[in-house]
């Protein structure tokens, strides 16, 4: 699953050649390792008003970062945070945005540029809505300018919700950290004050019991690894035929293996019974199990359509229903489902897959409000091109092209999806309600 091109242009002749020819020059992304500092250099917090002060205090006071409030020439920043919650007219953007722009050429590699803003609503004054929506376009374009593994993302905090709300703080930290290495050009909504910050940012899932379906291999196995690393007790679920790999994953993460077909009518009951009997509770349900049966719709057959919908979305709905009606999924519960950029932008030959993955996006949007009374939520991640056994089967040339079609000019790794899942599974994410977070390196297609 190696990316030969990425290695080739990384140094020496390959690097020079790519530069001369104007070819893409992706750099290997840096991923999170427990114990690493949050940033490798100073952070610049731009913007006026109390929200910018709050963010500066958070970064400087709570997280012990070297924070500047105005750009100092010659300083190379590891992060630039644009706090734009107070903008009321598009002309308000110029000051902070241009100041940020002046730092971009000298950003440290793998830097982070973040916006913090408010959502544009139909009820806003037109100028306010214009200013707020302007942040959206600004951020997405800015992210496309960044190089050397730097990313740009935004936190959109609902009116009436403090920028220091747990989910806003957790989202800021996620986007600043290397946990979000392959998340780029995304704006994530924080809708409420719900959620609780962890006692230890290295173990944000301490004391939580999480079920991961499709955990025997690929992204699911990595999700199990990352949730366990973050402190969760993991129940690894996969079909009995994948039992050997599943056992290896369960043993690696010191969790338990549950052999189960997620499409079984009693799957939800069995998952819950196992989690309660063996681990005393169930807090996090990660719906990762998924299959593909690609075919042009013109050639589609029921045996290629139906299993995809059954596994990828119908099983999730049935399991969620069982959990919701059980009365045992009420301790700040989290559902995190795997969608796909195919379900957002579409993909030729994947009508069945895209229908199922679009379904996932709709399902979490409608399921999240049902969990809110318990301090719960449901969200999805939408992976773009991720280097897995599944994408390794794509023909070589198609694969090479698919990898470059994003701002980071490379495929993501399983761990990039897993980090996003772990973030949405954390108690801190309670204010992120029914959203789909793309993990796609800012793929050129879709939002």
């Amino acid at each position: 699953m190696g990316d030969v091109y990425l290695d080739l242009v990384g140094s020496g002749v390959g690097a020079k050649l790519a530069e001369r020819l104007g070819l893409p020059r992706p750099v290997p992304l840096k991923r999170h390792r427990t114990g690493d500092p949050l940033l490798s250099g100073p952070a610049l917090v731009l913007g006026d008003g109390p929200d910018a002060d709050h963010v500066a205090t958070l970064l400087n006071g709570d997280w012990d970062l070297d924070v500047h409030r105005h750009a100092t020439p010659e300083v190379r920043y590891a992060a630039v945070v644009l706090v734009l919650t107070g903008v009321t007219h598009p002309t308000d953007l110029a000051g902070p945005v241009l100041e940020a722009g002046a730092t971009l050429r000298s950003l440290l590699p793998h830097a982070r540029v973040l916006t913090v803003s408010r959502p544009a609503l139909d009820s806003d004054a037109p100028a306010v809505a214009a200013a707020r929506q302007g942040v959206d376009g600004l951020l997405r374009s800015l992210a496309k300018e960044l190089r050397s593994g730097a990313t740009g993302n935004g936190v959109v905090v609902a009116d009436g919700v403090a920028v220091t709300a747990p989910s806003a703080v957790a989202a800021l930290r996620f986007f600043l950290s290397r946990r979000s290495a392959f998340v780029d050009g995304q704006l994530l909504d924080v809708s409420s004050q719900a959620g609780a910050l962890p006692a230890d940012w290295d173990e944000p899932l301490a004391g939580r019991v999480a079920v991961v379906t499709g955990a025997a291999r690929g992204i699911g196995a990595t999700v199990a690894d990352v949730l366990a690393r973050d402190g969760a007790t993991v129940v690894a679920v996969d079909v009995p035929a994948a039992g050997q790999q599943l056992a290896a994953v369960a043993n690696r993460v010191r969790g338990t293996a549950l052999q189960l077909d997620v499409t079984a009518p009693d799957a939800g009951e069995r998952i819950l019974a196992h989690a309660l009997a063996r681990h005393g509770s169930l807090h996090v349900m990660v719906h990762n199990a998924g299959i593909t049966r690609d075919k042009l719709l013109a050639n589609m057959t029921p045996d290629r359509w139906e299993p995809v919908v059954a596994v990828n979305v119908a099983a999730q709905l049935a399991i969620n229903e069982a959990l919701l009606t059980s009365g045992d999924f009420t301790d700040a519960p989290r559902i995190v489902a795997t969608a796909s950029t195919s379900g957002i932008a579409g993909n030729r030959g994947q009508t069945n897959y895209a229908a199922s993955k679009g379904g996932v996006i709709g399902a979490v949007r409608a399921t999240a409000p049902l969990l809110v009374p318990f301090g719960g939520t449901a969200n999805a991640v939408a992976p773009g091109f991720i280097e897995t056994e599944m994408t390794a089967r794509i023909p070589a040339l198609t694969r090479q092209v698919a990898r470059r079609l994003n701002s980071l000019q490379q495929g993501g790794q399983s761990v990039d999806v897993a980090e996003a899942v772990a973030f949405l599974a954390s108690p801190a994410a309670g204010g992120i309600i029914g959203r789909t977070l793309r993990v796609c390196g800012q793929n050129m297609v879709g939002r």
């Binding site: 009995p240 035929a241 039992g243 050997q244 056992a247 043993n251 969790g255 338990t256 549950l258 077909d261």
Partner: protein
């Protein structure tokens, strides 16, 4: 501080769960897996199912019937290769095909006496990876050469080797005292009891159908972990039929006077696989959030004189079971489930016939009449070795774990305290029977 002796009275020992590999036909998907690989896989799956990583289990005991001498610490090596704590003691056990049940019973007894709080009974066999042995003449020449003090002595010793001495000797479960294979022995018993070919084929068909139905119902989802690409028992033929079975030629008893009735379809094939059973006290189970499935109540071993005594090689359980039941004042009617290991279909049928015989009951069992009849709907209800396969030392673990789960389910569905009887015959005229009781 007052001194107390541990467990002045025995306490119950429970089956808490189990795990096995799917069983494979010898030379099939596990052809390249060793006994150690398979046994470790069975433990890996058990540890994963019950979250026992890093756990110090009181004792793991297990073994193989076909075992190379280099595997003198087979079970300990499997423990060291598993995620269990390396402080977990391990013991190798061997009692031919009774190894599995004997191991369960020995460990359960230690738990009952308070010597252990937890244990894993395991068993493995690989007919594919059977050790090859050199002939006795070559062996003594090699040993002599090894003893020799100089090159000349070594050459002299090796010069005695003749080409025919180089032929390897593969171990076979033949009886050393009679030179007959197990199948030929059973053919004699089959003829003695006049067990018809059709009855044997029907029993084999039932075994395949019941095992397939259990797989289809997901019964084995928490008893088996796939291995080497195999997700179900490789011997299982869900689509077999009486016609297909009837078409198979007899393979045993072809030189007897009676018609030969034993075929590859109604005899167990050589198989590869491993099993494990998790055992513990009620306290240990509670401390680990595990649910007891069934108690191991009691067991009885027996042996028959198949060399000169005129009894069939595989008939020892026929004697063990009445002794065991007498000790508890029970009859066959007191058991909701009866598991009789299907070494051959005719072994099961000869066992049933002997128990139903007044003459046998009076003359051999010392009873007033027939011992009793086994209600067929309670016999091997989820299939047995004819369909699952029979990796010798792994069969006991398969039967005990399957039966314990079935008992637990029965109790949940019907209440009461259903019991199961387990009976396994073995080479050497050995047999073992055990009683399990739903928890």
């Amino acid at each position: 501080m007052a001194r107390t002796t541990t467990a002045a009275r025995p306490r119950p020992a429970y089956v808490l769960g189990g795990n096995r590999t799917p069983f494979a036909r010898a030379g099939g998907p596990y052809a390249r897996a060793s006994n150690l690989d398979l046994l470790t896989a069975a433990l890996d799956g058990l540890v994963a199912r019950y979250g026992l990583q890093g756990e110090t289990i009181g004792q793991v005991a297990g073994g193989a019937v076909l075992k190379h001498s280099r595997d003198f610490n087979l079970t300990r090596e499997a423990v060291l290769g598993s995620p269990l704590s390396p402080h977990t003691p391990a013991t190798d056990t061997q009692e031919a095909c009774a190894t599995g049940v004997e191991t369960v019973v020995s460990l359960a007894n230690k738990i009952r006496l308070g010597q252990l709080d937890s244990a894993i009974a395991a068993g493995v066999d690989s007919a594919s990876d059977a050790p090859i042995v050199v002939g006795d003449r070559l062996r003594s020449a090699l040993l002599a050469a090894n003893r020799a003090k100089n090159a000349g002595g070594r050459l002299a010793a090796l010069a005695k080797v003749r080409p025919k001495d180089l032929a390897p000797v593969a171990p076979r479960p033949d009886e050393p005292r009679t030179g007959l294979s197990m199948g030929e022995h059973q053919a004699i018993t089959t003829a003695q009891w006049g067990i018809a070919r059709e009855a044997q084929d029907e029993l084999a068909l039932g075994s395949h159908r019941k095992l397939a139905a259990a797989w289809d119902a997901g019964f084995f989802d928490d008893l088996v972990t796939g291995y080497a690409g195999l997700a179900r028992d490789g011997v299982l033929r869900a689509d077999t039929s009486l016609e297909k079975l009837a078409a198979l030629p007899p393979v045993f008893g072809t030189r007897l006077d009676a018609p030969a009735t034993m075929t590859a379809g109604n005899s167990t094939p050589l198989s590869d696989g491993a099993s494990s059973v998790l055992l513990g006290s009620a306290q240990w189970a509670a401390a680990h959030d595990l649910t007891p499935l069934a108690a191991v109540v009691d067991a009885q071993v027996a042996a028959v004189d198949f060399v000169r005594g005129g009894e069939g090689l595989l008939m020892a359980p026929v004697y063990a079971v009445p002794r065991l039941l007498a000790r508890h004042g029970l009859t066959l009617d007191d058991f909701a489930l009866i598991e009789i290991h299907e070494a051959f279909a005719s072994t099961v049928l000869a066992t049933l016939a002997a128990w139903e015989s007044d003459e046998f009951g009076r003359e051999r069992l010392g009873l007033p009449g027939a011992f009793g009849a086994v209600p067929r709907e309670r016999l091997n209800v989820r299939g047995s070795s004819l369909a699952a396969g029979h990796p010798f030392a792994a069969t006991g673990g398969r039967i005990v774990a399957t039966t314990a789960k079935a008992l637990h389910q029965l109790k949940a569905e019907q209440g009461g305290t259903p019991r199961a009887l387990v009976s396994v015959c073995a080479a050497g005229g050995l047999g073992i029977a055990a009683i399990l009781e739903a928890a």
